[in-house]
Structure formats: C-alpha cells, structure tokens
Symmetry: C2
Subunit: 231 residues, 2 copies
C-alpha cells in the first residue's frame, strides 16, 4: 500500500516550546518520524512509504536513533532504502490531496499517516489498513484526523478544524463508505507536554522514548496526577 | 459478566469547575453513568452491572436523560431493573478490591468500568470483554486505568498514580497474563474541559451529549484548534 507520511521539517512541534528547545523539537520530530516509518515497515503488508516533507530532509540522520524495541510496542528501525522523500512546501491539505489523485488512477488505495504518531505499532496500523471501506479514518484527540486510508477516487481531505467530522461529511457527500478506527495509539499525536506522558507510558522502546530519556524526561507521579519531569 | 461501575456521587468532576457549576457537574456525572450503563446493556453478553456509589444514589433520576442514540455511537437507555446500587464510601482502590475477591470464589471474571467513559460503545466494551487473558486493561489517557477485566483470583488494583503501569507490574508479579485494549473511546475519561470536545465529536446521541447541548455547549473551531464554547 502506498503510504504518505507528511512531515513538517522546519520549526516542528511549536506547542512543545515550553519544555523543549528548538533544536530538541527538531530532534524529537525526526525521532517520531523514525518510529512511524519503523512501525509501517513492521506491518504484515507491503508498505511503500513516501515522506512528504516541507523542506529537504536527510533520512539517514532522521533515522539514526537506536530503536531498542520489544514485542509490545516495537517499531524496528526503518530501512531507509524503502522510503522515498518528496519535498512539497504547500499547505498540508493541498500536499495530501495531490497524492490522493493517484487513487483510481493506478493505485487501489493511498494511506496518509501523520509523522507524530509516536505510539503507533504495527498492530494499530493493521487495524487501519484492514477494513474494506472506501475511507478508513483514525481520529485524533481533539477532532483531528491522524491517519486514513482512501480507496475512493473522489475523496479529498480538509485538515482545517474538526477534520474528523469534515471527513465524515465529505465521504457521505460522495457516497463513500467510511469506517472509523477506535485506537488510543493512533489518536495520540504528540503535540503538547501532556502527550509526552503517553510516550513514556506506552512505549518501552523506540526512537521517541530514547530521545525523551536522553533529554532527561521521566514520569512524575508524586502529586497523584501523572506528568513528565526533566532532571 | 459481573461489572462494577464505581461512581463518585458527591462533588464529582471538580476539574470541570471552570466551565460547569456544581449542580451541572453532578448532572453530567449522572448522564455519563447513564451512557456507560446503556452501553453495557447493549453488549452481546449478559452484563450484571453494580454501581458502587460513594453515597446513596437514585438510579431513576440518574437515568432520566433521553438517549437519542444511533448505531454509530449508540447507548440505549439502561434498564434500571438490571442494575444494582451498592453504597461504599471507602477509597476507590479498596472498594474495587473488595469486589475482586469474588473472582475464583464463584465468579469467573469481574469487570470494572469507570462511570465517566462517556464515549464507551457496546463495540468498544466487547473489545474489553473478548480477550482471554487473566487481566485485560483499557488504559486511560495519562497513565490511568479506565476499564479492566479480572479473571485471576490474586489480582488486586491500585488506582494511585500511573495505575496502568502498576497494574502491568502487579499482573507480572503474580504470573497473570495481561492484555491491553487499544481504544480511544475507553481511554477517554471525561475529566477536563478539553475532554468535552471528545463527547461532541464522537457521540451523536446519548445522555452526556444531550446534557452538554442543554447546557449550551457546542464545538468551536474558529481559531483552527477545536474547543468547546458555551452560548
């Protein structure tokens, strides 16, 4: 399956600026991309990932993190040779829609998986790929769309606002069947400091966790609520 | 299956105090309970729910909300006659552990489902009930434990802190198999204003949504991020 992985290469993850420097945000964004590509590669099906980056990107440095994975949340290091990088500086919606044009035009299906799904596992991605619907959507927390599979040639995305609801409407409008995927792992995009808790709780390996540990983050539960603290 | 539904009857949902009055918080807590009980009743298996309430509770008033459900996110109104209420003012961990004693002592399994899982659907709960593991856990966002099924007589809960990780350790310590359930619906307990977005996005019917609409809440997407606004 063709899989588009949009990646914001410049000034990524601004909502983490309270806890991470600009350089660290750039590093962790690449670590998350490495984990997503690793999880895609470890699924049972033949994935052909294309990273659609807003700026030139060296995959060899992005994927340099050691991925000490286990069976529970494993994403083995991705093989760079299987990954294509395309630079496209258009807004996300336009860049994705350009790739959806290939559906029906040679491709049976195109998947779009966000690069910040640091909790994604092969099993969670299989649940995205499996349903035989025209459109399969993994909603993100907050009404977004974190991952989808498009098998209908007329379906186009619109990532602005509550895109999950918009994508339901767009599918209904063209008579396309839509199936949601109920996954906490795919619903969790790493945008804010509270999201880092999810990485430390739900990943026992992977580049993103390794990166957070290297930066000195650990879980903090002293006041009864779970947060991250940095030494 | 025996299902324990712990319910904080007095001063519930204090983290919603910025957007809801004390009386409204009490009303919405009961609406969420009604949705959870309705979803349990609509699963394929014979559920015997016991609401373990910190104070006396009138189920007939708690379940009075009109549940205008649909097939996608439906939780038909629960039948009060099938639900038992027990008052237990001990801390959550103690109240739940007292009920887990029945595992191996007559019961094959006891499930514990939090009363604030307003997104729970019959399908999501089936995924909790289905795995044949000694302990099945649906983690909550932030490291908590939102729902579990216990089939091992020695397993006991500890809800303090990052309880999902603690429950994994407790299971490992007694040689019990543990299977996590990857569900956004079960991971989403309604604690904070941002969680109300999830109700309005993912429920098209149900008591909790009806309650929020009655209070004048709607989705607000004008600044690109999705929040709730109150008229």
């Amino acid at each position: 399956m063709q899989v588009v992985v949009p990646f914001a290469a410049t000034s990524p993850k601004t909502r983490l600026e309270g806890v991470l420097s600009s350089e660290e945000r750039s590093t962790i964004a690449r670590a998350m991309l490495a984990d997503v590509l690793g999880a895609l590669e470890a699924t049972d099906r033949e994935c052909e990932p294309t990273v659609v980056s807003t700026a030139p990107l060296s995959l060899s440095s992005a994927l340099a993190f050691d991925s000490d994975s286990d069976s529970d949340s494993g994403s083995p290091a991705a093989d760079i040779d299987d990954v294509t990088v395309e630079v496209d500086d258009r807004p996300l919606t336009d860049a994705v829609n350009a790739r959806l044009e290939s559906v029906g035009d040679g491709s049976d299906a195109v998947a779009v998986v966000m690069a910040d799904l640091a909790l994604a596992t092969p099993a969670a991605l299989e649940r995205l790929f499996e349903p035989d619907a025209d459109v399969v959507v993994a909603p993100g927390r907050g009404g977004g769309t974190n991952a989808l599979v498009v098998r209908h040639p007329e379906f186009r995305v619109d990532y602005h606002g509550a895109s999950y609801l918009d994508h339901r409407e767009i599918a209904a409008g063209i008579g396309a069947t839509l199936e949601p995927v109920d996954s906490h792992r795919l619903a969790t995009d790493i945008d804010e400091p509270a999201d880092l808790v999810e990485v430390l709780v739900h990943r026992s390996g992977g580049s993103t966790r390794a990166c957070l540990c290297e930066f000195g983050f650990e879980l903090e539960t002293s006041d009864g609520r779970v947060t991250v603290a940095r030494d």
